[in-house]
């Protein structure tokens, strides 16, 4: 569904991504794991047109979407749940969700938009309870649900998720991932970026490991979970965190 080939992107003169290859297959959950600063967020942003791609190519259902404007990419069916949720904090919860459907014409698909809103409320009932509250007053977990709900309102075929577990309590993380699993069962393709390798790989079909702007490893998620180097580097021990300093360090 989504294919990334030899992609490089820069922040100023620093190469944040170096010749990255990735394949997210339709109907699957693909995960990219890696420590802070590995380039995972940059990769997702390059896919959605938020960070310019210097070299390489992004293809989506056979079409070249490299460096298209973000709104065109949303229109093609890719929706991005950003790191840190980024809800419209001083707007109502329901307005946040309706803005997610911004590119869909209300005249042509007003009924469908209503149905999708109800679908989001069914997946996240707490959002319906709080639909008239300002989004900024929600808890972290609720804001994450709102960010996912907003992304769903554009009726995507591919959902990009950047660190949905960030800053949330373990129980809330379990809820969110259960919902993601449910969305996947209903036919959505997911590309997930996570620091929490354990939970990410346990729901995924396929996984990539990123480090210092490069893909270092890939494989079936179950198989990656069993590998010794993954266990020691990304599952459990926090001690390795300091090793990943800047974007461009040679290892």
């Amino acid at each position: 569904m989504l294919e990334v080939k030899g992609l490089s992107a820069f922040y100023g003169n620093i190469e944040a991504l170096r010749a990255v290859d990735l394949w997210a297959r339709a109907g699957r959950i693909t995960t990219i794991i890696g420590a802070n600063g590995a380039g995972k967020t940059t990769l997702l942003r390059a896919i959605s047109g938020l960070v310019p791609v210097r070299y390489g190519e992004v293809r989506y259902v056979g079409q070249n979407i490299t460096n298209l404007e973000p709104h065109r990419i949303v229109k093609m069916g890719i929706s991005h749940v950003p790191e840190g949720r980024q809800v419209f904090s001083s707007m109502r919860v329901e307005d946040n969700l309706l803005l997610g459907a911004y590119l869909r014409s209300r005249r042509r698909s007003g009924g469908e938009i209503k149905k999708d809103l109800q679908m989001v409320y069914d997946v996240f009932p707490v959002l319906e309870e709080r639909k008239d509250q300002m989004a900024g007053t929600l808890s972290g977990g609720e804001q994450q649900m709102l960010a996912i709900g907003r992304a769903l309102m554009s009726k995507p075929r591919l959902l990009l998720l950047d660190e949905p577990s960030m800053g949330l309590a373990p129980l809330v993380i379990r809820d969110i991932f259960a919902c993601l699993k449910r969305l996947h069962d209903e036919g959505l393709t997911l590309l997930l970026v996570e620091q929490d390798a354990q939970i990410a790989l346990s729901v995924s079909d396929y996984g990539y490991v990123m480090r210092a702007g490069k893909m270092r490893m890939e494989g079936e998620a179950r198989e990656l979970l069993g590998r010794e180097e993954i266990k020691s580097l990304y599952l459990g021990e926090e001690a390795v965190e300091g090793e990943e300093g800047g974007h461009g360090d040679k290892i």
Binding site: P70, H71, S89, M91, L98, Y102, L103, R106
Partner: protein, 297 residues
Amino acid sequence: MDFLGNCPQYIANGLANGCIYILVAMGFNIVFNSTGIINFAQGEFCMFGGLLAYTLAASLGLPLPLAIPLALASTAIIGAAMERLLVYPLRRAGALVAIIATIGASIFFKSLGRVLWPKEAYKVPEFTAGNISLPGATVSRQFLWVFGLTILSVTAVYLFFNHTKAGKAMRACSVNRFAASLVGINVMRMSLYSFVLAAALGGLAGLINAPYASYSMGLFLGVKGFTSAVVGGLGNTFGAVTGGIVLGLLEELIPGFLTVVLGVSTGYKDAVAAILLIAVLLLRPQGILGRGVVEKV
């Protein structure tokens, strides 16, 4: 003369000026909200509104109901051109660069105005001439137009931003530009719309601010409008209303008090805006109705 006896007249004059300031202040707010920049050429939009209305109605002899919409539309087109030729190309350069560029645009517009309309003042036709006597005060009939059109504009702007899809999208840009582009809002398109709207509001302020218009009026109205926007709370529609009325009233009442009670010259009228601006920035930088800038890290 007694000060209290003159108060109704001061208040009437203050409200009339305040209405003009409100329109200019809303222009500052709309551009600030969707682009994050202060457009220092906002006052020049007023100049174009007033002088184009003069040219269309007084020199070309078009009837007012035709001349006014034409003047507003032309001003809106000038706003659109400014956005496309100046702000859009600088979109990656940062807000400060764009703000400095708007100062350049303001100087350019003013010079252009001076070339096209070289006289010191042009008489812009009033919508309806004549005065009305109220108890304790006399106001021009034009004042009723100013008052009515301001209320109409404020209501329209409020409804637009809170109850229409395009308006909510523009608000979304002001709340979180990054997220706005993620949901597919074309952020630069919203920037264009905001300049069109701000230019039209500025043009309206300039042409109802009868009876006179000149190439140099932009600075004066720009400063007053900017002060009103900041005093009320930058970016806030009701802040613009509050700021405009507070400034309009103080500008009449303070010099009135100084002249009548203390016998000091009235030459200080324009200093009121400067003092008010400094006082608000020192004591309540977020403005009267502002909630302050909350940054979550």
